[in-house]
């Protein structure tokens, strides 16, 4: 940082040309807006859905989307193999998939955050916590998914547990790394010397200063969690039919892939959009707030 002039932003590091920054930001803003729209669509699914997502109709099976010749206006996105409204199912499916991702990331993230803070704050616990998270880290997420599905039986619970568990060690590492930097700062020592208790130090001084890095990482992680979760659902280990969930819907569409490709393609495209937005937003946030994360 040399000679910062008044009209320049101080927060964002000037490592790219202005044009590039603008391009990136535009992309990030688009991603953020799309993500918000997707979340709103999921939240408002019961009001937005034009039809009952679970109502089957054997005479209206595999209708194509409205822009194709056989399409009908009541079913904007066509119907699936059982004659259910695709648009309604996509909205409800998005709701289920987002819920899965948010719950898993939140559970795994908060446990990881807590453990990471403890590892940095109480140096006695550091070795133990890091060893445990190393062990967990060497257990690939897909194996966790298969194992939990084998033990508790296929279902949403198994998927959420395994995704949360797979998220814990990665968040522990990110939190600890950024908490150790904070622990080296003078204000921690200052807080100690004015007689603050551990809880205040941990929450007010340490946690609040690490939270932005951890949040950025969790945005990046969210995309992966959605991908993994929908893959597990696709395999039949997640949400069970007739529940509308994007991965399960794509899997069901395999049966009619050649006759009515939209049944498998549409839920897959929604997943791509969701994950792409999360990844773009996460990348941009990381570059802006915390370039150090680049290497983790």
């Amino acid at each position: 940082m040399t000679a910062v002039t008044a009209n320049e932003p101080v927060v964002a590091p000037r490592r790219y040309g202005n044009l590039r920054r603008l391009f990136r930001d535009k992309l990030a803003i688009t991603a953020a807006v799309l993500l918000v729209l997707l979340i709103l669509a999921a939240l408002l699914a019961p009001w937005l859905a034009p039809n009952d997502p679970y109502l089957t109709n054997t005479r209206l099976r595999m209708l194509p989307p409205v822009w194709e010749t056989r399409g009908r206006w009541e079913f904007l996105m066509g119907t699936d193999g059982l004659g259910r409204c695709m648009l309604s199912r996509l909205l409800y499916g998005l709701r289920a998939t987002l819920m899965m991702g948010v719950v898993a990331t939140a559970i795994g993230g908060s446990i990881g955050l807590l453990l990471g803070l403890f590892a940095a704050f109480y140096r006695r616990l550091d070795g133990l916590i890091m060893h445990l998270s190393d062990i967990l880290l060497s257990f690939p997420a897909i194996l966790l998914g298969l194992s939990f599905a084998a033990v508790v039986g296929p279902g949403m619970t198994a998927v959420v547990i395994s995704l949360a568990v797979a998220t814990i060690p990665t968040v522990v590492r990110v939190t600890r790394a950024s908490a150790l930097v904070v622990m080296g700062q003078d204000f921690i020592e200052a807080g100690r010397s004015i007689g603050l208790d551990d809880r205040t130090l941990l929450v007010r001084y340490l946690a609040l200063n690490c939270i932005s890095s951890v949040f950025v990482y969790m945005t990046l992680r969210f995309g992966q969690v959605i991908l993994l979760g929908s893959a597990l659902s696709f395999l039949g280990l997640g949400a069970q039919p007739p529940v509308a969930e994007l991965g399960t819907m794509a899997s069901a569409g395999r049966n009619e892939l050649f006759l009515a490709p939209h049944i498998a393609v549409m839920p897959s495209l929604v997943i791509v959009l969701l994950v792409l937005c999360a990844n773009l937003l996460g990348d941009a946030l990381r570059d802006m707030l915390d370039p150090r994360l680049r290497h983790t």
Partner: protein, 313 residues
């Protein structure tokens, strides 16, 4: 090096223990009395009791766990509840195809990924760099099943270029190769993005090094500098990162095998879990975990060879 490797190996012991415990737990979930099932419906109580003793079912859970470990060590993973075949035999038939699939995907995705990553790094900030980054971000945002389904629909069904169902034989036969092409392509495509990203980051870091400036200063041609000085050093972290991504590849393989009815371990595991064939599920999860541990140890050894500084610290 030796110490480093030993440390890594030691780390995999708790993992192995955890997996064994999981496998043991899964077998405990098998409904009904195992001895009764083995003895058959007409067996006398004495015979059943004898079988219980032979299997160690009358001992405590802890002893049973150790009996289980020793049986696994001897390659006895029990019998599939559905086919009644030895689990180890089913796994033996499935591990080859999984290995083929992984090999087939790595053989093109790693070189392409490294090439793209290097090109991006060399052209940092220019249009080419941005295009490659965009491709990579797209790549890591794609569900593997979507790529697989698209390839099946277009390349396999509409254009009738390649078969898309099952495996037809070893890779060196023409038919075998043709059947392996689409699954390998599917799995490889999701791997190009991560490899390109990692290579770009690694290459950018190396390009700032003093020895690269020296190489340029002494008048070496740009391609010599990039290939001999930058790439060779950038590849070291890339190798480890590829090792770390083995889990990602494994996840992709499970899905790919299921879509293409490829007779590998992943498909076997999923099928077993869905059919509640717990002994087979136990065996396949165990073998997947062990292969993952072995791959990681192998990558560590390789890393030691590429970068002799490792382990001397």
């Amino acid at each position: 090096m030796g110490v480093h490797l030993l440390h890594r190996a030691a780390l995999s012991i708790p993992v192995l223990f955890g997996v064994l415990l999981l496998g043991f737990m899964l077998l405990q979930l098998v409904p009904g009395d195992v001895a009764q099932v083995i003895a058959g419906p007409q067996a006398t109580p004495e015979v059943i009791e004898q079988i219980r003793k032979d299997l160690g079912l009358d001992r405590s859970r802890v002893i049973q766990f150790f009996i289980y470990i020793s049986r696994v060590a001897q390659g006895d993973l029990g019998y599939s509840m559905i086919n009644n075949t030895p689990v180890i035999q089913e796994l033996g038939e499935a591990i080859g195809p999984t290995f083929e699939l992984m090999l087939g995907s790595l053989i093109f995705s790693v070189p392409i990924g490294i090439a793209l990553g290097t090109i991006a790094a060399v052209n940092r900030g220019r249009a080419l760099d941005r295009i490659i980054i965009a491709i990579a971000v797209f790549g890591v945002s794609m569900p593997v099943f979507f790529i697989g389904l698209m390839l099946i629909m277009y390349v396999g069904y509409h254009w009738e270029l390649l078969p898309f169902l099952g495996r037809a034989g070893p890779l060196w036969t023409l038919d075998g190769l043709a059947h392996a092409a689409l699954p390998s392509l599917t799995l490889g495509l999701i791997f190009i993005g991560p490899v390109a990203r990692m290579t770009r980051t690694a290459a950018l870091e190396v390009m700032n090094a003093d020895y690269v400036r020296t190489a340029r200063a002494k008048g070496l041609a740009e391609h010599t500098v990039i290939i001999r000085h930058v790439l060779r050093n950038a590849l070291i972290p890339v190798v480890t990162l590829i090792g770390l991504q083995a889990g990602y590849l494994l996840g992709g393989a499970v899905v790919t095998e299921t879509i293409f009815s490829w007779p590998g371990v992943g498909r076997l595991a999923v099928g077993a879990i869905l059919a509640r064939d717990l002994p087979l599920a136990q065996g396949s999860i165990l073998i997947l975990a062990v292969s993952f541990i072995v791959i990681n140890l192998f990558v560590d050894v390789l890393y030691g060879f590429l970068d002799p500084r490792v382990g001397k610290r």
